[in-house]
Symmetry: C2
Subunit: 444 residues, 2 copies
């Protein structure tokens, strides 16, 4: 369409490519300046090359899903309920799926009411909404050390201060949490919530023991701190049924986040939060402001899948598929990385590897990619620069053979790095350290 | 699942219903305290009763969509591309749909590159992301008087100050905008953007004239203010092809928001923003933090629909359907509300009615609902309490016969109110005014 313009902007250039300069740089909000691409994200470009074995990603392997069933189910929904499927819904999400979610959560021992549930665009949005409604800039979130990179990004976006509290093989350490909270309070900080992934932790691969669960809840209750319990992997245990959710110990003090991304499929972007009623209603207000309503096609498709398919049988198939990959991972680690140690996950997607003394996972990554294997450096999972001696390895997406080949390559890389450290010692390590903050280090 | 609990929370009570008390009230962030249900939302409960003719909602009428085609298309996508459809996507949205969006925007005269587009969960999320990355608490957004209620909610959530700038039948008045910006600057305020709906304005029903478009762009450019151009209805003109978007006059100074909700269907929750490259990249970072990625089922379904269906023919059908309803609305207004005046929309969903001297749309609403007709009071569309003498009437969803019946009922209500005002004069009006802030006035 031809029309006059009184602007001097180089319009034809715009049509071919975006300019990298930013005329609006000085206009951004303070919170925007803290947002940056996560280490995980900037890895994707290289990790997705076909010759690279990626032990970096968190994508579920959804090849086993019943596509024919889903095709027929979706077509039927569209024919019979199209005008509902294609219309706006309510901000809290459809009661139909919230009722199903109540059933899903029974597996975690939760007795919930659909009114207390909000359906979100993945549980990531629930994280975002909780942080939006609770965090003033400078408020504190206590999170595990290490913690989910996507949650740390949300906390940073809302200018929260993250304080990490240590874990061992049984998850969060109650005494240490008590110390962390007491110390923060004595410094006058407002600790708003504890963010925790109690089951098959991302990235640590550990599970909070049954014994510690009531202790963690009691400590937080005493300190007036909400628990944000994030449980995307809870049903994907390899050896036993799920432990009771933290939510079951004190429903008034816990906001529980769930997701269909790992127990079914992420492509619909449907997750949820179960919260005390008043908190849920605030999340709904924030959600309506953010997106009006969650997508109806996803909500009604998943509700129908849960009603008409043996979805728990699918969960069992996921469990055995991921167990096989976990086994391949652990066996390969024993064979190829004897100088490392690692956690032994009973479920979920990840193991957390500790490198030999002197090695730096962050600095080692370019060499690993050169050797056609990718992982995520432990530094991604801390807000304070910790984690250089760790890497997260995921076994969810590659085949067992690929996992073995990837770990074999990683073994070569680690051995080579060890030689360097032996030759150059601490000096080498410092060089690595300073390279990290160099802005041109794109793959970090 | 049986388990011990050391908490005193009344768990069984929780299972049956949520408590209305909020133990976390003192923990909320400042921004959360400004969030409240919009007037539009709180109307829904009554407006949706079957006996009420709702001229209040903004839901598109999607009855004409080709459900059989969509059923077959969706089934085919699931069978042939299921693993992609059901997986996570990238934070910016799929290139496949961004390429299609470039084509859609050509109807607005826009020459864009897919790299400059971010796919969002409805254009509402684009509004949210823009506000998130640009607005510090206390920053100013200039918006039309009146303005879209959902945008005002977002601005309030980020603690922006909204300053309204007046319109006439040709949309925003350039001289008044110049004054508004100059006055705000002289008060030391940071005006970050102008939020405008140039085509078939919600709620005003007017369109920014061709002549004024370059003037508005030039004024904003001179004042260093970004334009946030929200264009959900642009293709739904009744009499002529769309005017060129503001974006075409200065692509470096305009962020353009589009949506499939009105030209196709809202149920997939797919909208988009076209912005200068650097701004787009910041929106992507914020979006990844908020939701990781937009839903794949919606993106790939809409991309396929645009590629394989005559989507523009569907737009033409929408146009003629909505034109018929607009005509029913305008004819009924002439017949039943002779003491009111109203705008004459050339497209879109709404007309903006001015009540006779002394009447208060906000206070009149309970009487209207009693007479089984609903509208939105003009007060919903201002951040500063203006709008009592206006109501928004929408003709998008009810049938022409329902529209006529609804307007007839509204005529009865207006006449009765006029009599009251004649009898009691200004005193009556004051009573109405004070009733508004009464917390138990649920339907307001």
């Amino acid at each position: 369409m031809a029309h006059t313009t009184d602007s001097s902007a180089p319009q034809s250039a715009r049509a071919s490519a975006g300019t990298r300069l930013d005329p609006w740089y000085s206009s951004y909000a303070d919170r925007s300046l803290g947002m940056r691409a996560s280490e995980v994200r900037s890895l994707f470009a290289v990790a997705n090359r076909p010759e690279v074995v990626s032990l970096a990603g968190g994508m579920p392997n959804i090849e086993g899903l019943p596509l024919d069933f889903l095709a027929e189910m979706t077509a039927r929904l569209m024919r019979e309920r199209g005008p509902k499927l294609l219309q706006y819904g309510g901000g809290q999400g459809e009661e139909e799926i919230r009722t199903q979610i109540v059933e899903v959560m029974r597996h975690d021992g939760i007795h919930a009411h659909p009114d207390d549930i909000i359906v979100t665009t993945g549980s990531q949005q629930a994280l975002d909404l909780m942080t939006e409604i609770f965090i003033n800039p400078g408020d504190v979130v206590v999170a595990e050390a290490p913690s989910y990179v996507g949650a740390l990004g949300v906390f940073r976006a809302y200018q929260a201060e993250v304080i990490h509290s240590p874990m061992d093989n049984d998850g969060l350490i109650p005494e240490a949490l008590e110390d962390t909270l007491t110390r923060a309070e004595s410094l006058g900080k407002h600790v708003k919530f504890l963010y925790t992934v109690p089951n098959f932790h991302n990235p640590a691969g550990v599970t909070l023991s049954l014994e510690r669960r009531p202790q963690i809840v009691e400590i937080c209750r005493r300190h007036g701190v909400i628990i944000l319990e994030d449980n995307p992997y809870g049903l994907l245990g390899f050896d036993s049924e799920p432990l009771p959710a933290l939510q079951t110990y004190d429903p008034d003090a816990v906001v529980y986040l769930g997701s269909f991304s790992k127990i079914f499929a992420p492509g619909y972007r449907v997750g949820w939060a179960l919260a005390p009623y008043a908190v849920t209603q605030r999340m709904v207000l924030a959600a309506e402001s953010a997106i009006l309503s969650p997508n109806m096609v996803g909500q009604l498709s998943i509700a129908e899948y849960l009603k008409t398919y043996d979805w728990f049988q699918q969960v069992k198939e996921y469990r055995s598929m991921y167990r096989e990959r976990r086994d391949a991972m652990l066996e390969s680690l024993s064979e190829y990385l004897p100088s490392c140690s690692w956690t032994v996950p009973d479920g979920g997607f990840y193991t957390w590897v500790t490198l030999p003394e002197g090695l730096d996972a962050h600095a080692m990554l370019p060499r690993a990619v050169t050797h056609r294997v990718a992982y995520v450096s432990g530094t991604a999972f801390f807000s304070d620069g910790q984690g250089r001696d760790h890497m997260r390895l995921s076994y969810c997406y590659p085949t067992p053979d690929s996992i073995r080949e990837g770990v074999r390559r990683l073994g070569t890389v680690v051995e080579a790095e060890k030689e360097l450290v032996t030759m150059f010692g601490a000096e080498r390590r410092l060089t690595h350290g300073s390279a990290v903050d160099h802005p041109s280090t794109e793959t970090h």
